[in-house]
Symmetry: C3
Amino acid sequence: MASPFSTNMRFKFSVLAISLQVLIIILFGIFVRYDTHHDNGHKNETEQDNQFIDLYPLFQDVHVMIFVGFGFLMTFLKRYGFSSVGLNMLIAAFGLQWGTLMQGLWHLHDGKIEIDIFKMINADFSTATVLISFGAVLGKTSPVQMLIMAIIEITVFACNEHLVAFLGATDVGASMIIHAFGAYFGLAASRVLYRPALKNGHENEGSVYHSDLFAMIGTLFLWMFWPSFNSAIADPGVYQQRAIVNTYFSLAACVLTAYAFSSLVEHKGKLDMVHIQNATLAGGVAVGTCADMDINPFGAMIIGFIAGIISTIGFKFLTPILASRLKIQDTCGVHNLHGLPGILGGLAGIIAAAIGGKENVSASMQSAALAASIGVAVLGGLITGFILKLPFWGQPPDQNCYDDSIYWEVPVEDEQGNHYGEGHNIIKTEA
Amino acid sequence: MASPFSTNMRFKFSVLAISLQVLIIILFGIFVRYDTHHDNGHKNETEQDNQFIDLYPLFQDVHVMIFVGFGFLMTFLKRYGFSSVGLNMLIAAFGLQWGTLMQGLWHLHDGKIEIDIFKMINADFSTATVLISFGAVLGKTSPVQMLIMAIIEITVFACNEHLVAFLGATDVGASMIIHAFGAYFGLAASRVLYRPALKNGHENEGSVYHSDLFAMIGTLFLWMFWPSFNSAIADPGVYQQRAIVNTYFSLAACVLTAYAFSSLVEHKGKLDMVHIQNATLAGGVAVGTCADMDINPFGAMIIGFIAGIISTIGFKFLTPILASRLKIQDTCGVHNLHGLPGILGGLAGIIAAAIGGKENVSASMQSAALAASIGVAVLGGLITGFILKLPFWGQPPDQNCYDDSIYWEVPVEDEQGNHYGEGHNIIKTEA
Amino acid sequence: MASPFSTNMRFKFSVLAISLQVLIIILFGIFVRYDTHHDNGHKNETEQDNQFIDLYPLFQDVHVMIFVGFGFLMTFLKRYGFSSVGLNMLIAAFGLQWGTLMQGLWHLHDGKIEIDIFKMINADFSTATVLISFGAVLGKTSPVQMLIMAIIEITVFACNEHLVAFLGATDVGASMIIHAFGAYFGLAASRVLYRPALKNGHENEGSVYHSDLFAMIGTLFLWMFWPSFNSAIADPGVYQQRAIVNTYFSLAACVLTAYAFSSLVEHKGKLDMVHIQNATLAGGVAVGTCADMDINPFGAMIIGFIAGIISTIGFKFLTPILASRLKIQDTCGVHNLHGLPGILGGLAGIIAAAIGGKENVSASMQSAALAASIGVAVLGGLITGFILKLPFWGQPPDQNCYDDSIYWEVPVEDEQGNHYGEGHNIIKTEA
């Protein structure tokens, strides 16, 4: 058997995963049942049925964002595609179950969590926080570590989400409670897990031509379905429609500034795939908090316009500084895609609340929600970082970072880095 | 002109395809018309219109599973991507037309097949059987053979489906009538088409790094939209919602066990892309029959939990035995993704029926349906195999198996297997 | 600073993009607001809300076609994937904003453009014209040129669309006003931009194995969601359902003939990825105009049958002639996918109108609409071509055509064309 400090995951990973799944099944047996359509005072059974099937397409859009969007967005690294898309799937599949429990415990009916379409959408949402944090530590953690992060982060997320609701703040598209939260949680953890040996980069920490194209699959599905993300749990009717319209136009404006600044900051005027893959999405993040408010389409565009700029600038100038000065190695640049735009979204929500963008929403409570989300995230991320730093979770040594082959069977490559040899073969003659 | 035994498909394929399409157009002219909204006793016209547009997103999810899901799942082979995704498209496009006719003939209104959203969903479903069987013979058959298989298999499928309905059995997510049926049909055909020369494998029968990433596109779209597959034809309201919820949680649980066992069965504890691409989906197959039954979310999770295990174990230990002992070469391992989990689904349905999971469903009729589906499939597959073995369908010689270049124009490669030369060029200077 | 004739886009591109976005925000501030649900005489507020959420999934399907479908379809070129999918995104994100304005100005309410789901669908539609034209000039234009083309083409498109509506013609799936229009606009522009040095081809003007697979992602999403494209703005109920059903079957029939003729025209009977990626879609284009008419499913199939044939034949025989005789270099063969099938669609609409396929539709007005669309497109494309030919838009020199590296940071390659070196690296140690 492998040493406890080995990166061989054979027993530590499989035992953890199976134990978690057994635990979840037991908890589901105790706490979770179907929605029984009890009269909630203003809807009848048919209306509830209609709502389920009406929102199901939006749920599926969010589902695609979680599994294909986040998964493929991170495949840009040349040798880390299996982990990116594969561990993304693992984290999300575990996280949606754990999230159902952690969020549901705050909203019990007769001691039970009743599954309806909102519970499913929110379960998917809760996984997004971990997937954002995963981007900050991508390539430097083991599957075991990521499961542990998912357990802690989703638990903390559900508490913070409840706190924000308790404050009376609104965050329909979750700029604060998912994007800023996930980013600063991950960055705090990444700070604790700082690897000095990687401060001058790593030979695997780059893309190849086709890995950048795979990443664009992720970018586009995130970009297209973001209106669904920001509107899925909005109040039906005018609020939901506003959330769709605002997100649609914010994202479109964001693309223009992301492209413009990508070209502007490079002395030869060339576009950089990093910016195109990421900064084009910042408009979706930043319009989240006030997506369902009466900010007008041009207001949404202004938010997207700014988001595209700060995100691109962040990638170009801030990420290297974070790495060199603050010792925060942010593999995917989640600070630029989720952190800064998340804060921008929180600020936009404060301003929109101040000018009466939505009834019964106060600027001060929005401010408290933003501060709480970042504060809780940083604290939670730091604690998680220290837990993950314990030496027996199978984390990769520095030289094996950003490399699938430490945790995956990978097709043989030649010395030039070209993959061509025998890959997986289902009908193996020897088992 | 090519010899009748040549793999040159120029005339045999094009004449077959055009003839089939002409035949189908004639049959559609005689039998098929739009749904005329005749009063069916309990719905008015508006309700029927609403149903069409309400179910259309679920239809589209199934459509994506058929064309992108199945298509890309099979692109894992390093030199067989064009055939995988291309022949998948051909089979499905033909099959949905043929399936409309074969299924519709059992449900005529005034001698006509009236197209509504259910007919379209079922037409897509009928193609799934052939696409599953295609996985068993992938790389070893010609396009002509696959069209012939589609004609026979969809015809037999429609009969078996009718038989199962006649028995009063239920199979809303089609564990038995599509998954087990398609798998055992394909395996039986593969047995007849056994190629001794391939018993020690083939140099093309493996993946490369990026082909495994392409396959994950297929995996993820199948995984995400499986709740739609299992619920699309369920009764509206509580049954349909249950089917969605059960499938969602079964799949999530399945991911955890598939990952855990993938690591567990490999002595270095590494994850194997074969398992991740396939066994993560077994939970969707296995929960199919009882998806709309009152099995509770934790019941669905138990099914998914078991499915992930047996599927991974099947890939690791059973597929090599099938190949060496039973002479069944199962290229994609459909036995592990569709066969075993399909049987598990049938068994789960029997148990759920026995404990009263759905009114008016009997365990004995469920058992009969499972037995019938497998029996009919094996018989149909054997007969199809013998027909396909006739020497003039352009099947590839052993050395050209798993190789696109026998049926496709393929960009030039160098001797190392790297593709880089001239590929397709639309504006050719010489025609 | 770069010379005005340089391909360095640093200032000319970024200033143009930012200026356009600022202009659009100002115009949106003046003209655009949310839909205020004013009573339009036959619908109440709830019905309007239901319509938004009912059509939202169809909007999203169209959205996927625009961003993933068109984007990835054009990634077939071996070194032009970043530009294909990236500039596609840029054009579409700009175009949907510009299209909202240009189309909306023809339909003001109290001097305002009110955004509802139809406005969003039509905004996406308007971008399709430019994306089609982009296919004709792919690899030979700069991002600056493409933004200019988008400005002009969408403006002209909106006028022609209004003209066609004024004529009382119908074109629900836009065979004439989008597909034929976009194709002939682009071909006319391409004629003016003719590059004699490329008449014998270019070393980059070909595919590699995996670029052809990326392109299939585009093909399949276009193919699957085409029924949504052709039905999204149809009248609800029977017309919309017909549009879905007709497109579904037209596309299926088209696949069979595209495959058959692909094999037939190649002397070894092999399939050609060019035909599979493109001609399989011609059935969606060609059934567009009469998609919501009472042409019967078999009528739709006949249209698809013919479309698959003429598109494949066009790729094989017509495109080389266009290039050599008419000096029209059509990189993606849009003439075969959108031009010829668009005309076929217009003709089918004329015939269907003549035989009474839809009330109040006249064959002569349909004919006028087809002629107008092509005439306006050719004229607009020629003028646009001359504007784009001005020497200061940063167009690539002949030897850098079809090459991302002129406008993009691209991972290093070796002399064999294999990409393997350092690609993008987010945490750069030097900014």
